[in-house]
Symmetry: C2
Subunit: 224 residues, 2 copies
DNA sequence: AAGATATGACTGTCGGGTAAGTTACCACAC
DNA sequence: GTGTGGTAACTTACCCGACAGTCATATCTT
């Protein structure tokens, strides 16, 4: 049996792989690892399930490719921002601005790296851990610097605050996904307004760099 | 067939239901709705799967009972704290303190109400929504009051900040679950330290009540 | 002809859900 | 006290659909 609809469509493997990863990233990001089925991804890509297995070996392999893709994207961008000299809240804002720019057209990518339904052990957990470790390291750095300026240096305190900061970023991303009409710029301006309202403007004057928060300097050059 | 191991063990239905809900809450809270199987819960309770179905009808029915239990607990406690006159950051701290006290011996309950792997539609979603709505309403109130004091009144801004606040609470709870040795008191003190470090002590002097943040007043009477 | 690109149809397992039967307990007659 | 029937508390053994993963086969390009 297995009659007639087979045969190559002339799509080179690498192109097909990229297409599959993109579509799978959308599904994984929107529905989570657990709620996404390989057959579903194949359908949405207009191909059959065995082809996905041919190229990625397993569901985990497919998810790994997606993590590799968005994890590297995110980690590299955040590391790039961290190389600026900004400190304190300005550093946090720069990070947020860069992420808004990076993810404006693909907001779902954020959810892949932080997906709570992905396996908690095995290769997927290790890959996720390696990317979140890179991100958390920088968050930890920023938080340490900021808190030590106020005389707080306890390990557990810094640790908890780091988690809170990552939670804030996560909340903003989630809110952004739920409000598709908001642009990256609008989100950054919103964060500026909120931080100003909470901390007062005086805080910004105390940062070392003389930048004005609004990303017109080299700190925000990532805009496409 | 069906030989011999059946028959009542003399446990009244209500007792058994409470036991099942408790065990299920642990599983749902620790592993999430999707990753928890009814057979697993039954095993851990030392009973068989059909008994669970007999009492709760379905997996969703069981989860609903768990939501009802922890949702009511949380919402009532937060509403109770909201009846105090505290404003601004003090109000947030009171809320955190009350939750730490309430959940100290059952931290996993928090994860049931905010479980991202629970169904996004149907009765479960509605029950979850009704409890989170009660909680979010109060969070929204507090955020509105706080931001309007700084001249920020935009709906979207307030909305986003509310989500961020809930994200902060969520992060702290998650961190707490990962650090079982920390007591409720230690957590509250930690929050006081962090807020003081970030906002400076001046902010507390500007609240209306003369309380000293440390819960020795009526604002923290929930301690068991 | 060979190798890359593809597919239909299958298997195995896991987990939600059910049918039918078993045992303990209790009330009441006698 | 002892049968006797009703009911509440249980279990074993099964069904069934969804989904990860596989096999054999087919078509296209060169």
């Amino acid at each position: 049996m297995a009659r007639s609809n087979a045969g190559t469509k002339g799509v080179p493997r690498l192109d097909r792989e990229m297409q599959i990863v993109n579509i799978a990233s959308q599904s994984f990001g929107a529905d989570g690892y657990a709620a996404t089925s390989v057959a579903d991804v194949a359908d949405r890509a207009g191909i059959s399930k065995p082809l996905v297995y041919n190229y990625f070996g397993s569901k985990d392999g497919l998810f790994l490719a997606c993590i590799e893709h968005s994890g590297a994207l995110l980690a590299e961008e955040i590391e790039r921002v961290a190389r600026d000299e900004a400190v304190g809240i300005q550093r946090g804002l720069n990070t947020l601005g860069a992420m808004f720019d990076l993810l404006e057209r693909q907001r779902h990518l954020w959810r892949i790296v932080v997906d709570p339904t992905s396996p908690a052990s095995g290769p997927i957990a290790e890959a996720t851990a390696s990317y979140t470790a890179r991100i958390e390291k920088l968050a930890h750095e920023g938080v340490t610097e900021m808190l030590s300026g106020a005389g707080l240096t306890g390990d557990l305190d810094v640790d908890a605050m780091t988690r809170v900061w990552l939670g804030i970023v996560d909340s903003l991303m989630t809110w952004w996904v739920d409000h598709p009409a908001e642009s990256a710029d609008q989100m950054l301006q919103r964060c500026v307004r909120l931080i100003t309202a909470l901390f007062g403007t005086t805080l910004f004057g105390s940062t070392m760099t003389g930048t004005t928060l609004l990303g017109d300097d080299d700190g925000g050059e990532g805009r496409a």
